[in-house]
């Protein structure tokens, strides 16, 4: 035995003494063994104070051996960085662990923060609501924030890898204690797909802390046989080191799986049936100074002895209100711990138990409770008192009983978090003084201690029954297996957990949030009597343990103080997560490039080779501009614009939304969607149109082509492609299912290459194609289908730049070939054009950019569609809204062009048109696009301006970042207003 491990037993336990591990606690070098948790190793080394409490900075020691731990949440470094709030009671010790107490200044053993404890009477529940109002909260906030928090942000790189998994199963069994194992064994033969999930790295649950005879063999043997049987069955999957953390609607549960070192897996499981065998959590007793290091839950003390071969202290008093703690006392005694007394709140104790205590010479103090505990740094003694006849006070205080440890048992409370998350109701079981599951709308059953069956025999038999029943309910057939134990256990709890004496401001209800009985009394006095108010006002149950050992006692107190039955005060809502889950695991691989996988153009590689600088446009990576010959952004955009205006430009428009509609009612359908008249469009022709929301607001613009009588091709803006397909489907499926039309999105099927400019036609005519590109055969706003370079092609004469323009659609995979052919043919007569140049070109032409030049208030009338709306006789989406008084108002913000009076003024998008200062400055609209036009060699812009249509030529003031200057309002079209070039 390593010399430091003073409290380590020489034999027994599930640790491997041949594998010593060294670790550091607050820079002190210590040793433990493989199989230890961090907490058990600390206890073995006689470390009693591990942390300071949240509010009063009191010393705190390890209080549990499980997930309910409230004190030993420490900062642990695994070499990669410090991770705070690690539950050391369930974290396996590994070699070289560096463990630190997160609080305590200068150290956890000498903490100046203790001054808060000396002045504790000031810091009651909600004190901060009563003070810190002057001059304002911000003055005090920094200090309060620095004191809060359970550790620092994790440091260093996150070395974990995170994965997501999905699984369906017929039966999900949560918890592999006696009940869960018996249930799993029962369901094996059914053929159902069974998933058994256990948070510990070993199966067995309570049996690991307290062995028993099951089916006449030692439980260790029974567990290993069970494990083999389950692992051999092809229909059963066993997951260990995995915690079911959330129970959602439709029987979907989430699991955080830590079974692989350095990997965290987040599982989503959809289960036909769920069986919760989640066990129960021992509840603390409430008495004066019940938070001293050395005081721990009774069954935790037993687990440290039996599982980890650690005695928590040399001398331990056991205090209980039920039979179960006697087993603890006997285990402690049998392993060399002196037990000076068992303090029992009950008057009548079963003879059998009394005899066993007598045999060991352990005195029982019945009808008694702990009055107070003493000690300077750690526990040194306790004082006991007798309950009065009415149980409302205590009499006959004893002398101090010396001890270094105190094992407390207030009985068990079923672990109902998941059941409650599932929407299940709990009811108060008076004889057990705890809440048990009652009914749930989801397909879930509960077995064993989780259902309030605290004896091993019941857990085994009921687990076996519940397992086969759940499998049967899932549609499979099996019978419960026979599983029995000769170990008998009794419970006989008396519902006394709170000593009716002592200073209530020193009696802790919630160790983690540092909430005392006095806080709860104060809350009730101030009328925070709803259980939710009590929780929020006192913060009981709101800390990182979510009240696993404090909610029940708080509710009991609330019921007592308000003189209501506990069942009536109810419980607060349990929410996911049962155990906090690393956020990286929930995000999984959705990070960086995978956060939103980039969509690449079909000719991406070509753009890369030709100097494209890419930018995100939604999920697409598109060439913002081409840094040909190392030119900068401004130069590139200017040269691209000029190249297109002078000769020809090539633009990759593949992300353009493309939706095909076919069927006899395709035209009728679109006619109801578009503001424009669709029915008059002849096959082979194209029209520009607007789509509106029900409120008349422009949601998208673009062209639609009639490819054949019953076949349309709709183009949406790139950004809205997904939204518009959903929009069309919604109208078709929900409102007009009678229309015969099939809507299919073909955005990524077709690559789009636009060639535009005065030389566009000449260039195109040099390409192998059966399409006639002449002005007569293919005028502006018409479409031709045929082949190009031997592949199917659709060529649309549409323009977003104001130049003669051909939009060539070919199968996406051929897109790069078309680009290469055109560029080779064009040589220096053609240049690739990036998105920014394209947007600039359309600004010169005064074309709308929906989402930039329009906002959530812009209707069809505001952009000059009044004539088209008036002419259309039939109904369309949004029409009714355009008839409303406000939509017809003359002073609406309308689409205009704008140019600064003074060429030196840097007109920028985002500036506002404002009323003169002397009229009270008010926004009259916004500059929605602005740029220096390389073509016109001056600054131009577009905007939305109140009464804009009638203000052409007016001078208006704009405001931008505190600066104002004057601009002239113009027609929105700056380039080729007659359309001569475009129609060429």
């Amino acid at each position: 035995m390593a010399p430091t491990q003073k409290n380590r037993l020489t034999s027994g336990g599930r640790i491997d003494r041949s594998k010593p591990l060294s670790f550091k606690f607050n820079n002190r070098k210590l040793q433990g063994y493989q199989g230890d948790t961090i907490a058990s190793a600390l206890l073995a080394n006689d470390i009693s104070t591990v942390n300071r409490s949240f509010k009063y900075h009191r010393r705190r020691g390890i209080m549990s051996a499980g997930v309910e731990e409230t004190n030993a949440l420490l900062t642990v470094s695994d070499g990669k960085g410090d991770v705070p709030v690690v539950r050391t009671t369930v974290r396996a010790l590994v070699d070289d662990h560096q463990i630190k107490s997160p609080s305590g200044f200068p150290s956890v053993n000498f903490d100046l923060g203790r001054v808060l404890d000396f002045t504790h009477r000031l810091w009651t529940a909600g004190f901060y609501n009563k003070v810190f109002k002057w001059p304002n909260w911000h003055w005090y906030e920094g200090m309060v924030r620095r004191m809060a928090g359970l550790g620092n942000l994790p440091g260093g790189e996150d070395g974990n890898r995170y994965f997501h998994h999905n699984l369906h199963c017929d039966l999900l069994i949560v918890g592999a204690g006696p009940a869960g194992l018996a249930a799993a064994l029962s369901s094996v033969t059914s053929g159902a797909r069974v998933l058994l999930v256990e948070q510990d790295h070993e199966l067995g649950g309570s049996l690991l802390a307290n062995r028993a005879l099951i089916n006449a063999v030692d439980s260790d043997l029974w567990i290993s046989r069970t494990r083999s049987a389950l692992e051999e069955a092809v229909n059963v999957t066993v997951m260990t080191s995995s915690t079911v953390s959330g129970y959602y609607d439709h029987n979907v549960l989430t699991i955080i799986d830590r079974s692989t070192v350095g990997v965290k897996r987040f599982w989503k499981v959809r289960a036909k049936e769920v069986l919760l065998a989640t066990g129960a959590i021992e509840q603390p007793l409430v008495f004066e100074n019940n938070d001293r290091p050395g005081i721990m839950l009774a069954h935790a003390a037993m687990e440290y002895v039996n599982r980890y071969a650690v005695k928590p202290a040399d001398v331990m008093v056991v205090v209980t209100n039920n039979d179960s703690a006697y087993q603890v006392a006997f285990t402690l005694y049998d392993n060399g711990v002196r037990v000076p007394a068992i303090v029992d709140a009950r008057k009548n104790i079963a003879n059998e138990i009394v005899q066993q205590a007598n045999q060991r010479g352990i005195p029982i103090m019945s009808n008694s409770v702990i009055l107070n505990t003493f000690g300077t740094s750690v526990l040194s003694s306790v004082r006991v008192g007798t309950l009065s006849d009415d149980g409302k006070s205590t009499v006959n205080p004893t002398d101090e009983i010396a001890c270094q440890g105190l094992a407390i048992s207030g009985g068990f409370n079923p672990s109902s978090d998941l059941y409650s998350q599932a929407g299940g109701n709990l009811q108060y079981a008076a004889e057990l003084a705890c809440f048990v599951p009652m009914q749930c709308r989801q397909r879930v059953t509960v077995a064993g201690a989780a259902q309030g069956k605290f004896s091993l025999a019941e857990a085994l038999t009921e687990g076996a029954c519940a397992g086969s029943e759940a499998a049967n309910k899932a549609g499979f057939t099996c019978a419960p297996i026979d599983v029995t134990t000769s170990t008998t256990s009794s419970y006989n709890l008396k519902a006394v957990r709170i000593t009716p004496a002592g200073d209530s401001s020193r009696k802790w209800v919630d160790f983690m949030a540092d909430v005392t009985v006095a806080d709860i009394e104060l809350a009730v006095r101030e009328n925070f009597v709803s259980v939710q108010h009590l929780k929020r006002y006192t913060t009981t149950g709101m800390s990182a343990d979510q009240g696993k050992t404090s909610n029940l006692n708080a509710l009991t107190l609330l019921a007592e103080l308000t003189q209501k039955p506990i069942g009536e005060v109810g419980t607060t809502t349990f929410r996911p997560q049962f155990m906090p889950v690393p956020m990286g695991a929930i995000a999984g691989q959705r990070h960086g490039d995978f956060y939103t996988p980039a969509r690449l153009l079909p000719a991406h590689d070509w753009h890369v080779r030709h100097g494209a600088v890419f930018e995100n446009y939604g999920a697409w990576k598109r060439p913002e501009y081409y840094a040909t010959n190392g030119r900068d952004r401004e130069t590139a955009i200017r040269e691209e614009v000029l190249a297109l205006r002078r000769s020809a430009g090539l633009f990759d428009g593949s992300p353009l939304g493309k939706i095909e509609l076919t069927g006899p009612d395709a035209g009728e359908f679109l006619n109801r969607i578009y503001v424009n008249n669709v029915l008059t469009l002849k096959p082979g022709r194209i029209r520009y149109g607007l789509m509106l929301s029900e409120n008349g607001i422009i949601i998208d613009d673009g062209v639609f082509a009639r490819l054949a009588d019953d076949h349309y091709l709709v183009s949406t803006t790139s950004a809205n492609a997904d939204r518009i397909i959903a929009w069309l489907e919604e109208w078709h499926q929900c409102e007009w299912p009678d229309l015969e039309v099939i809507i299919s999105t073909v955005t990524s099927q077709w690559g789009v290459t636009t060639i535009a400019g005065p030389n566009a036609r000449v260039l195109l005519q040099g390409i192998e194609s059966d399409i006639d590109f002449s002005a007569q055969a293919l005028p502006h706003m018409s479409v031709a289908t045929g082949t190009l370079l031997g592949v199917p092609a659709r060529v649309q004469r549409v323009s977003y730049t104001g130049e003669m323009s051909f939009e060539i659609n070919v199968p996406a995979i051929q897109s790069q070939r078309v680009i290469e052919a055109l560029m080779n043919l064009g040589g220096n007569r053609i240049a690739p054009i990036g998105v920014e140049a394209s947007l600039l070109l359309r600004t010169e032409k005064g074309y709308l950019h929906v989402g930039a030049d329009t906002d959530g208030m812009t209707n069809a009338l505001d952009v000059g569609f009044a004539g088209i709306v008036a002419k259309k006789q039939s109904d369309f989406v949004g029409r009714r809204s355009l008839l409303r008084a406000d939509d017809q108002r003359k002073d609406r913000r309308q689409f205009v062009g704008v140019e600064p009076l003074n060429d030196n003024e840097n007109l920028q998008s985002g500036a506002h048109f404002v009323t003169p200062q002397d009229e009270g400055r008010r926004s009259q609209g916004i500059v929605t696009s602005a740029c220096f036009s390389p073509t016109l060699k001056r600054i131009i812009g577009l905007g939305l301006l109140e009464r804009g249509f009638e203000r052409k030529g007016e001078t208006v003031t704009v405001f931008d970042d505190g600066r104002t200057f004057d601009v002239r309002i113009t027609e929105p079209v700056f380039y080729d207003p007659s359309g001569e070039k475009m129609n060429a």
Partner: protein, 414 residues
């Protein structure tokens, strides 16, 4: 209000805090009230308070089917800001922020307003242009706003990853924006209203309205019938249900909006951060938890719980901006039901039923509006005409088309 001070805490400490009075009374309902407010959330309680304080109406009941402050008031992410685009919204929400700035003192109850700044991120140059548009609107409305460069963003929020999947190109900040303590707002108003004699009646669900010849005269509740001259509805999450009981319809859809918190850690995020593109907002509470959320669950629901897809979405978004949070653990997730109107602006004012008033449609942003919502609704009820600040937020706008679309300005697709 008074009674709470450092001195009174010290004095009470000396006698074991035995002398504190109830924060609010819990009386039995009377037969009749001048005004009944349905819903004891922030808005309902504030309305009662300002009715009593500003309009001297004291015979008021606030009816609550659960526990006061238990709806969206107690479920939101506590963000307080007034960086709105349209002048009507700006005037209303900035008035609210100004009331918040002195609320702790006015109510004699510390609501822990922390004006640590509300930063909105831009992830593209076009978004930055949109932000310029937005920031200019705010400035014209005489509210503070500052456009920031990426370097300035990084300085303010050192943990942020500027080079995330959608690199950060800048942002803008409202320095007066921040967070406060939601429960304290409800409790503070409840205490102050109760002190004025307002009856706050919890566990009292309204099941029907008494309406005769187009005029409301009372309510049926699970605790009996209660008569009232005037009634106001303030039940975020259930506005359409209550309207249906009174036989009129409101253009509202209800969805679950999730919020979640990490385990508490020492201060590491000192600004409220919001990204409209990586749909996420986050702040760190005074207790040390990261409090964050994102978009609403994608289906209509009255169930106050969230699903897994949005949980994953929100956390992925948070980690994309703050990779350093990946090893922090998620402690708790919950949801509230938000009433969303077609233009994402609230509904306030008169209803088709005489003497029946409504405050709802708060969408995802009702918390920050509590003081102004209460004050203006009190005026509206007392005078039977909308307060000037909320004239444009009435139900009529859905008939006239005079919408106030803040969705567009806040970067949400329209």
């Amino acid at each position: 209000m008074n009674g709470y001070s450092f001195l009174s805490v010290v004095r009470q400490a000396l006698n074991g805090h035995k002398g504190w009075p109830v924060v609010w009374r819990s009386p039995e309902p009377k037969k009749n009230y001048d005004v009944v407010i349905v819903g004891a959330g922030g808005h309902g309680l504030a309305t009662a308070y300002y009715l009593a304080k500003n309009h001297f109406i004291k015979n008021i009941a606030v009816l609550e089917k659960g526990w006061l402050g238990g709806g969206n008031t107690g479920r939101n992410t506590q963000i307080t800001r007034s960086n709105y685009f349209w002048p009507q919204s700006a005037a209303f929400f900035d008035h609210s922020l100004k009331l918040y700035e002195h609320l702790g003192q006015e109510l004699n109850f510390n609501v822990m307003l922390s004006q640590r700044g509300m930063l909105t991120l831009a992830h593209s140059l076009h978004e930055l242009e949109g932000m310029r548009r937005w920031a200019n609107a705010i400035k014209i409305n005489d509210i503070d706003a500052e456009v920031l460069t990426p370097i300035e963003v990084k300085k303010l929020v050192p943990l942020i990853d500027l080079n995330c999947r959608f690199p950060i190109r800048g942002g803008f900040i409202q320095h007066r924006g921040g967070i406060s303590r939601h429960d304290a707002v409800a409790w503070g108003y409840a205490r102050a209203a109760s002190a004025y004699g307002v009856d706050i009646i919890q566990q009292c669900e309204v099941t029907a309205f008494n309406i005769s010849s187009g005029r409301v005269t009372g309510v049926h509740t699970t605790r009996g019938t209660i008569g009232a001259d005037k009634i106001s509805i303030a039940v975020a999450g259930h506005t359409s249900e209550l309207a249906r009981m009174a036989d009129f319809r409101v253009p509202v859809t209800s969805m679950a909006l999730q919020a979640m918190v990490s385990e508490p850690i020492k201060p590491c995020l000192n600004t409220v951060v919001m990204s409209p593109i990586i749909h996420m907002y986050a702040s760190q509470s005074d207790r040390g938890e990261l409090v964050f959320g994102g978009g609403a669950d994608l289906y209509n629901s009255y169930a106050q719980r969230g699903g897994i897809p949005l949980l994953q979405e929100n956390i992925a978004a948070l980690l994309e901006l703050f990779p350093a949070f990946s090893r922090l653990r998620l402690m708790r997730q919950w949801a509230g039901i938000v009433d969303i109107t077609p233009d994402t602006s609230p509904l306030m004012g008169l209803t088709p039923v005489q003497n029946l008033y409504i405050s709802g449609g708060w969408g995802t942003g009702g918390y920050k509006a509590i003081p102004a919502g209460g004050e203006t609704m009190a005026y509206t009820i007392a005078n039977d005409q909308p307060h000037p600040l909320i004239e444009d937020f009435g139900l009529e706008r859905f008939e006239s088309g005079a919408l106030i679309d803040e969705g567009a300005a806040s970067g949400v697709a329209h």
